[in-house]
């Protein structure tokens, strides 16, 4: 699906900030924060960014993930997969899809593992 389709199929207007946000998120291997995003797109407005994240998250175009440090990280919502948050270096990593775990009564939508990433486990 193109950026244009992702945006317009949900009834959103096709604006410059939205196209840029989707294009940049497409190039990321890992979720990014506003701080990281605005390093790539320095002219972005904070409100526009966060409002876009809210609308796109509700439309399931993107996922938000809470870091250990009180920041939100965002990624495109393509194939569902779990994430790992390193409590040492605070990196957020996308993991390979995992066989779905079911919990009686609960409707599980995502899984986050926490601990030490490979880099931090060595040292």
């Amino acid at each position: 699906m193109t950026f244009e389709e992702k945006i317009t199929l949900n009834g959103f207007r096709l604006t410059a900030p939205r196209k840029k946000i989707l294009s940049i998120l497409t190039n990321q291997k890992q979720p990014i924060s506003f701080e990281e995003y605005s390093a790539i797109d320095p002219l972005i407005d904070k409100s526009t960014f966060y409002r876009t994240m809210q609308s796109f998250e509700q439309a399931h175009i993107i996922n938000g993930i809470e870091s250990d440090e009180g920041k939100r990280y965002f990624e495109l919502n393509e194939t569902i997969h779990p994430h790992f948050i390193c409590q040492h270096c605070h990196a957020i990593t996308c993991l390979n899809p995992l066989p779905l775990i079911s919990l009686e009564g609960y409707h599980v939508e995502s899984i986050i593992f926490k601990g030490k990433c490979p880099l931090c486990s060595d040292s």
Copy 2:
């Protein structure tokens, strides 16, 4: 282990706020935030609370969990178990211990499931 032991074995001084914090956390079935804690212990100072959480977390006396809403929730670190965060009502629930999942290269210390809790799945 008594509150006194938990505190002093880590080289911390035995103070009134620390004893009260541990006694209140002991009575909780689920992790609680500062907001919830201070409803139970209205005289607690915010700095004292958060500084205690930091020291106790480093000493592995308590666990901190990030909610979906940018707040930290705290619980005693007794038996390790996963948690469920409802993305609808935002409740944080302790789950029963789960067979340990291992991820090649990663050192997993905790697992958080997100989705809809039983109450919110019905409605």
